[in-house]
Symmetry: C2
Subunit: 320 residues, 2 copies
């Protein structure tokens, strides 16, 4: 057998779902299972569910167990990859210093790698998605919050204090809107899919004219993008503010990490060109003229599978 | 002989001065020479001056030439460390794609390493200054502009496009004050020593009351800090704005790089505790409460020697 024959399990633990997949050395999913994460039952029950999801996936595809290299787990931070411990995620009640890596390893009898969900998704895009072919890639996942991950020289970048790439909590408006993290003015209050929907909703509640209504379908970032394109003034303003924050953030990522690519994923990226073109336009407006060290800005391509693929990729890309 | 016996030459090329030093493996300067950089005479004349400065330093200290491991050069960016080429620095007229590394190497018959001046200074502080003992360190040099360098895992971080850590050009006020780089609202327009002096000067010219005068000694960031401490309202406002920008930037560096230490150097750091305590206060006000992954914020310690020490350190810390 060669390294191309190896397989790994990727697990994506979120506040809403537990996903697990059996992934081959080319980043292809061979089997997949998802189940609701009933996080209010506490860590023991959730860890039992993770083990169950892994066993379902292992049972769903016939393979030589000797080819199974290990399990990668992406979980909400803050966490310590080196210790394998979830320190205390906001959307996982009761998770304080839980040794998730070792507990799963013990239960399944396989080596386990743990990393931040943002890092894991970025690694997935780098390894098997839109970031392939570059060494340094930054992913922004524009969903409920703004998740992020940074790949440097082909490895997830964690920083000495192990909590790097929390770009959703970079302050873009000092003393701005309050954030769940305890700060104010974080990127995710202006440029997540939820924040865009919430800000349009707030405008309607304050009586602003809008083609979207509170009584119809739930307001989504994609609906806001469409309405913006059709010149709805409220949606246009909120969408443009979000894209401007992202365009300026891309300039700032350029000057911080100088990666070859910045990828936009998550719910907001469902708007496709309506997101990408607007962000690129703001990037062009705000970038410097001193040097042409510009990252390409593109859409992520793995969608909701980025986490499980990246988690498996962490295992499969490790030497030996 | 052991690696502890090796020596290197460090060169710091700036728009104002050329500095060269002979440095030992502990980061100690054995001989030093500085001369004005008459940059308007173009690259050939400046490179001849650099060679002269190196020869002066080599002649000033008796040592075994076999111990001389090479020459490190810090120069204004943008540049390409991998190609050894200065691409086109704003304050070096006529420098377009100049192969500085190879020209110096050929003239002196020694291996040469070229890096951005900000990176080199950060490496100096990491190797022999306030950053010693940590793996990941960020330096902000608050002088004419805001220079910066990032050390990750004990090496200068350049990014795939080789121009990372241009933190002075991170946008802190979208559409804010115009910057020499062609953008608006860059950190260095609010938090460099020059910008602080310039903004106080502008206030006085507009007739604002101020204890500093335009007819007396030149207004410096240090004088602004002192006047701010003595409750001069204009100086207090400008100084506090600069320190707030830096405090918020430290939060953002925390979320981007998550380093163990952030060091403040350059002319503004002459204000000592007046800078450090104020920046720390703003950091405390703006930081998150979700996790205690806080970098220590400290003053840099090598002063104007950081460049030559760091440049030599790049050579001396290289394996073999």
């Amino acid at each position: 057998m060669t390294s191309k024959d190896f397989l790994a399990i990727g697990v994506d633990l979120g506040g809403t779902n537990i996903k697990a997949a059996l992934v081959d050395a080319f980043g292809k999913i061979l089997a997949k299972h998802a189940q609701p994460a009933t996080v209010n039952r506490g860590p023991d029950a959730v860890i039992a569910d993770i083990e169950h999801a892994i066993r379902v996936v292992l049972g769903a595809h016939s393979h030589d167990r000797a080819l199974l290299k290990g399990i990668g787990v992406g979980a909400p931070g803050p966490l310590s990859p080196s210790k394998g411990v979830v320190i205390g995620a906001a959307n996982l009640p009761g998770w304080q210093n839980i040794a998730l890596r070792d507990r799963i390893s013990l239960a399944l009898g396989l080596p386990v790698v743990l990393d931040n969900d943002g890092n894991v998704a970025a690694f997935g895009e780098f390894w098997a998605g839109s970031g392939a072919g570059d060494d340094d890639v930054v992913l922004l996942t524009l969903g409920t919050g703004v998740g992020a991950g940074v790949v440097i020289d082909g490895a997830t970048y964690r920083g000495q204090l192990e909590n790097a790439a929390e770009i959703g909590h970079v302050i873009v408006v000092p003393d701005g809107l309050p954030c769940v993290c305890g700060k104010r003015g974080c990127l995710e209050q202006y440029a997540s899919a939820s924040s865009v929907a919430r800000r349009v909703q707030g405008g309607i509640e304050r009586g602003e004219h809008c083609s979207l209504t509170l009584s119809g379908e739930k307001i989504t970032a994609e609906a806001v993008a469409s309405a913006a394109q059709q010149c709805d003034p409220l949606c246009e303003r909120v969408w443009d503010e979000a894209c401007k924050c992202l365009g300026v953030m891309c300039v700032n990522i350029q000057h911080m990490f100088n990666p070859a690519r910045i990828l936009l994923g998550g719910g907001m990226s469902q708007a496709g060109a309506l997101l990408l073109n607007r962000v690129r336009t703001h990037f062009e407006t705000h970038r410097w003229t001193l040097h042409n060290d510009f990252p390409r800005i593109e859409l992520a391509s793995l969608g909701y599978d980025a986490g499980v693929i990246g988690a498996a990729g962490l295992v499969l890309s490790t030497k030996a």
